[in-house]
């Protein structure tokens, strides 16, 4: 009897738990309903009968970075569909082969090996510095064009012969930011706080070197661990130096905490960060403490570009929200167009569709005008040149304060 009542209690408990979890899901954004979200944006060929041109996409669709990854994948699917709708490439549709990496290098390697060994894609698109770094040697060995999107560690340019970035590396926007804050805003003493990973470390070093080269002094250079939630020690050291500006090189999940704790500790100096901070969520979490924050942005805004306005409207119509990391998704969208342009170039030249020919075509073409991010120049040293937009939070919204070419 007792056993039966226990079983009944257990069954009720299971039901309540499942119900709670299911309902909790109802209240969330669809951002990391990862597979479902990406899957809801079906790839379409619009009746194109030619042999598909396969392009790999290695991105986190699950895991901690899926909030960004899913939206970036959605952007690539939209771009491929748009290209196919407009006739594809010489009548051949683009077919994306999307594989989840969880932003894990090991899974990235497995994904790219599948692209090169099984799917035989002549090119692939990949995001996240750690994944791009891990898969670059495979791109070289298999002579496959690897397009890095969103990863901004300066080392990306030196990863290999076949790895190119479509995204400005950290030295582009951080150098512009450091020069602007010293030269225009007249900040003399800077403190730098950074997350202890590739993105944080390299970006912080670039900012420090650029700020000092511009004539300023970096008075504190403090790291924090990715799992930290208490930055009292680092903030105490920053506060002791009384800097004019604090630059934070972190990730979207830790940036609000660092800024909140700085403000709570009475650090009232100007705060800046890079493009990871260009996210409305940051303002939501920080409220008034976000006011005055300066962030970099590497893409045109809704206000300055009708194409971007249309793109954001589509997100709001389809998903009921803006994409996570809007500029990153724009670069992913345009990355498919970069592939289209180089494939077109190779096919028009009557060459075979190989990674070698595609990589050569990228440098030969050099300048492109892309649908969302506009003009871009691919340099032979595997970097790109782009204007940098500086944004500042004013009245709980990002406003452009400078464009640096």
């Amino acid at each position: 009897m007792r056993e039966r009542s226990r079983s009944r209690f257990a069954a009720v408990a299971v039901a309540v738990l499942c119900g709670t979890l299911a309902l909790a899901g109802c209240g969330t954004q669809d951002s990391a309903g990862a597979e479902g979200n990406a899957g809801s944006d079906k790839q379409e060929k619009f009746g194109l009968k030619g042999d598909p041109i396969k392009i790999g996409v290695a991105e986190p669709i699950t895991g901690p970075s899926a909030g960004f990854g899913v939206d970036q994948v959605t952007a690539t699917v939209w771009a491929a569909n748009q290209i196919n709708k407009e006739g594809g490439i010489n009548g051949r549709p683009i077919e994306l082969k999307i594989i989840d990496t969880k932003a894990d290098p090991q899974l990235g390697i497995a994904a790219v090996k599948r692209f090169t060994d099984l799917e035989k894609t002549p090119a692939f698109i990949a995001g996240f510095s750690n994944v791009v770094s891990a898969v670059a040697p495979i791109a070289d060995r298999s002579k496959t064009l690897a397009l890095s999107v969103g990863a901004n560690a300066p080392t990306i340019a030196k990863l290999g012969e076949y790895t190119y970035t479509t995204f400005p590396l950290a030295d582009v926007d951080l150098t512009a930011l450091a020069q602007y804050t010293h030269g225009t805003l007249k900040k003399v003493n800077a403190a730098v706080m950074y997350i202890n990973n590739d993105t944080g470390k390299y970006g912080a070093e670039v900012y420090r070197d650029a700020f000092e080269e511009a004539g300023g002094t970096v008075v504190a250079f403090e790291a924090y661990q990715p799992t930290d939630s208490n930055f009292a020690g680092q903030i105490a050291r920053v506060k002791a130096e009384n800097p004019d500006i604090v630059h934070i090189q972190g990730l979207i999940d830790d940036l609000p905490q660092v800024i909140a704790q700085l403000r709570q500790a009475g650090v009232n100096a100007q705060i800046s960060t890079y493009s990871a901070g260009y996210n409305p969520e940051l303002i939501d979490k920080l409220g008034d403490a976000a006011e005055g924050l300066i962030v970099t942005n590497l893409a045109p805004t809704v206000e300055s570009s009708p194409a971007v306005a249309d793109y954001v409207r589509r997100w709001e119509d389809d998903k009921g929200r803006e994409p996570n990391g809007l500029p990153y998704t724009m670069y992913f969208y345009d990355a498919v167009y970069v592939v289209k342009n180089v494939v077109q170039h190779v096919l028009d030249a009557g060459q075979d569709l190989t990674g070698t020919n595609l990589a050569k075509a990228l440098v030969d073409i050099g300048q492109m005008n892309l649908p969302l991010t506009g003009d871009i120049t691919f340099n032979a040293d595997h970097t790109v040149s782009k204007p940098v937009y500086l944004m500042q939070v004013k009245d709980s919204k990002f406003e452009q304060i400078a464009e640096i070419k």
């Binding site: 257990a10 909790a24 899901g25 669809d30 790291a223 799992t227 939630s229 105490a236 909140a260 969520e281």
Partner: protein
């Protein structure tokens, strides 16, 4: 000096939720003799149930927090009544418990990931709290809340253990479950009660953590090593030792920045935990007990010789 005081205060207040988690883990280990690695799953369920309460139902936090606590209790009761009970009945080795709890954590983590997404979430509208100064010390409303909630929870827990008949039964079962059963104590009920209390502590910890930092479905797994380290350093079976060790780890982490480059902070904390665990496997209280015994013996020695 000011820096030291501020770091000591911040590290202590930030350790409040970690203290609750360490006490929860140590309690289950003491009474049920199980290394409960499903605690991160309970943490995730508690937090996302609170998110459900605030976001989906539009409830104020004061009502959403009990929902999270109840969800954590239900989960822990399920783990005990379905998992641990059947493993005990089959006389499963301790490694099976370990694997079972880890599997539970991974399973729940994936379910939460699929349902709620992987983006970091916070409880309430902001993680920015009002601050005020006491001398050169900056204190935030969250600091007071964390210390208050943790202190009150631990006080009630201590009173329950010391003064209630069920507390006495828990102590009896933790000492010898077979003997306790012979004295008429329903051991299975004590195990359920232990997991329920663990659920309450976990729920309160997640309320404090979620109102300060962005929580992801994998958050619990990321800090379980620190929790287990606190339990070992505090002395296995010593619930209050685990609480003090959790504070100690945070203090070491905070103060390490004043001595070593901040880049080494994570490394220093793990070196500290490694050294203490290797040097004092029975925990700091065990070391203190051994030392005091040695001192007593050496003091008694000459007396005996004289006698």
């Amino acid at each position: 000096m000011d820096n030291g005081l501020q770091i000591a205060w911040s590290s202590t207040t930030v350790s409040a939720p970690y203290v609750l988690l360490a006490v929860s883990f140590a309690l289950v280990l003491k009474v049920s003799k199980i290394w409960n690695f499903s605690q991160p799953a309970a943490m995730g369920i508690a937090f996302y149930a609170m998110i459900f309460g605030t976001v989906t139902m539009g409830l104020p936090l004061v009502l959403a927090v009990p929902i999270g606590i109840v969800a954590a209790i239900l989960f822990n009761v399920l783990v005990e009544s379905i998992g641990f009970r059947s493993l005990r009945a089959r006389r499963a080795p301790s490694m099976t418990y370990f694997i079972f709890t880890l599997v539970m954590t991974q399973l729940v983590g994936y379910i939460i990931l699929m349902l709620a997404g992987s983006q970091g979430r916070i409880l309430g509208n902001t993680i920015l709290y009002e601050t005020f100064n006491v001398g050169r010390l900056t204190i935030s409303v969250w600091d007071l809340r964390a210390v208050g909630v943790a202190a009150l929870a631990l006080l009630l827990f201590a009173m329950f253990i010391r003064s209630s008949p069920w507390g006495a039964r828990m102590l009896a079962v933790s000492n010898n479950p077979d003997l306790a059963a012979l004295h008429g104590i329903r051991v299975s009920t004590v195990y359920l009660l232990t997991m329920s209390i663990s659920g309450i502590l976990v729920g309160l910890a997640m309320y404090l953590l979620g109102s300060r930092v962005a929580i992801t479905p994998e958050f619990g797994l990321a800090i379980i090593v620190e929790t287990v380290a606190a339990v070992i350093i505090g002395g296995i079976g010593n619930v209050w030792g685990a609480a003090l060790a959790a504070i100690g780890i945070r203090l070491v982490q905070g103060f390490s920045v004043l001595i070593f480059p901040s880049l080494w902070q994570g490394f220093i904390v793990y070196v500290f935990m490694f050294v203490v665990i290797i040097a004092v496997p029975s925990g700091v209280p065990g070391l203190v007990s051994r030392l005091s015994k040695t001192v007593r013996t050496s003091l008694r020695g000459p007396e005996k010789a004289i006698a």
